[in-house]
Amino acid sequence: MSEGRFSGEQAGVRRVMGIETEYGISMPGVPHANPVLMSGQVVQAYADSVGITPRHARWDYADETPLRDARGFDMGRAVAHPTQLTDEDPTLLNVVLSNGARLYVDHAHPEYSSPEVTTPRDAVIWDRAGELVTRAAAQRLAQSPPGIVLYKNNTDGKGASYGTHENYLMRRSTPFQDIVRHLIPFFVARQAICGSGRVGIGDDSRDVGYQLSQRADFFEVEVGLETTLKRPIINTRDEPHAEADRWRRLHVIIGDANHADVANLLKMGTTSLVLAMIEDGAVTADLTLQRPVATLQRVSHDPTLTTPVELVDGTRLTAVQLLWRYHELAAAYLDQRSPGELDPDTAEVMQWWERILTLLERDPMEAAPYLDWVGKLQLLGGYISRDRLEWGDPRLRAIDIQWSDVREDKGVFTRLERAGRFERLVTDAQIENAVTHPPEDTRAYFRGRCTEAYREHVIAASWDSVILDVPGSANLVRVPLLDPVRGTRELVGEVLDTATDVADLVRRLSA
């Protein structure tokens, strides 16, 4: 794959991206069960279910040093002997999956970090693969009652929040101040599309009611490095997991975990497009908002979508109108940069974006089959009118939580989707395939296939390297993967297909 695709020559939604999700975790009837230990059990249970021993394919935390990368693989000789890598904290379990993802314990939650993909559609597929991974773990754990239940949500409604983070590879040369300026208004508005909905107002649900976003009430500042306190709309963490002088990994912490395909596709796709415009200097309007943090929360608290946001120039718009502004800029940008046919991924995002904004503008409830927050609100509204409930009723909060239960029979979203009430963009077969197969067009392909084929020999892996124990070699071999678009099927598929063993693989990669 040429680098050009990721440096703006082809304008559109494609870029290296991924989604990390910390799942809520609970032992039924035991509210104070240790979440760190439970999360470890989840990782262990999944590893057991697919025959992985977590001591294989562990995560490599070693700092990377810049490495030559002439052909994508510059074999580095060993940093450590295998015996030096055996210390491990049982509560800090990590496994690399054959789809290139990472499943591990992050603080007090199990986290599924998707493999790197290059399209919003693939981001949806491999994100949903994570739902099947956690479902499989929950199923296995259910064999020992009361089991452990996992939730793809972002808050307990009692003051705690845990993240669903998006990652986007960006050009290092783009001034960070441009990202801050043009992204904050977009992030304030985009929850109208990709919010997952929440019962309760305030981080600890001190007020009753319904809001668009799981996360809005947990944000306190505009820009910052923190992710666990004083959460910023724009997070400045900068670990590119790639060549740092060329790339920045924008770590987006403001999003909700999505179940609905359309919402998830638009979250990734529209954000990637806005980033492309920022990289190319194509956000020509100044959409800077007054008081963005307070506005973020006011927008979230208004499911009628009529709350105005105020620009610094005094213009007042609704969140949907602000998103239309970004859509118009994107349409003009694409017209200019890619006259004629758009690539299918970009065309799909642009069409859904327009379609959803049109529905939201006409009547937000019409977006129920497409967006998490609207579908959830529609269901809750049904209960409210049938059973004459008030917003403070615990039944509504229970539905909100159970919405995200990963179990097939218990998850409310899953039941509604199975009943055909949510638009599907990806098939069950695609998602099931993505549980065990990596994307083919990023380095996740090498990571996943190498893990699958040579599990016994993969001593550790990270986003940008795989460390192999090669029989007959005194030292470990590190395969650097600093370029996210190397290690693809196109580049290494044949070698992986035909290598006779791990030593042969290493020999041929070095050749």
Binding site: E22, G24, I25, S26, P28, G29, V30, P31, P35, D106, H107, A108, D156, G157, K158, A160, S161, Y162, G163, T227, T228, Q321, W324, E328, A331, D335, E341, L342, A347, E348, M350, Q351, E354, R355, T358, E361, E366, A368, P369, Q378, G382, Y383, R386, D393, P394, R395, R397, A398, I399, I401, Q402, D409, K410, V412, R415, L416, A419, R421, E423, L425
Partner: protein, 64 residues
């Protein structure tokens, strides 16, 4: 802001799996409103019987 101002519709072609602008999806939404009771009946069977205790028991630690 009217949706017809939006460009790029021409890129779509017809056979893209997207819902039609009016009729089809409108019908879907109509159907949804129509059978909300049957949906509630189905979800009733899924929900925790003691909602208050269930909500109280769902306690998470912060993450990230």
């Amino acid at each position: 802001m009217a949706p017809e101002q939006i460009r790029h519709q021409r890129h779509g072609g017809g056979d893209d799996g997207l819902p039609e602008e009016s009729g089809e999806s409108g019908g879907q939404v109509q159907r949804q409103e129509f059978d909300i009771d049957s949906v509630l009946d189905e979800i009733d069977g899924v929900l925790e019987t003691n909602a208050e205790e269930f909500v109280r028991g769902f306690v998470q630690k912060g993450g990230e």
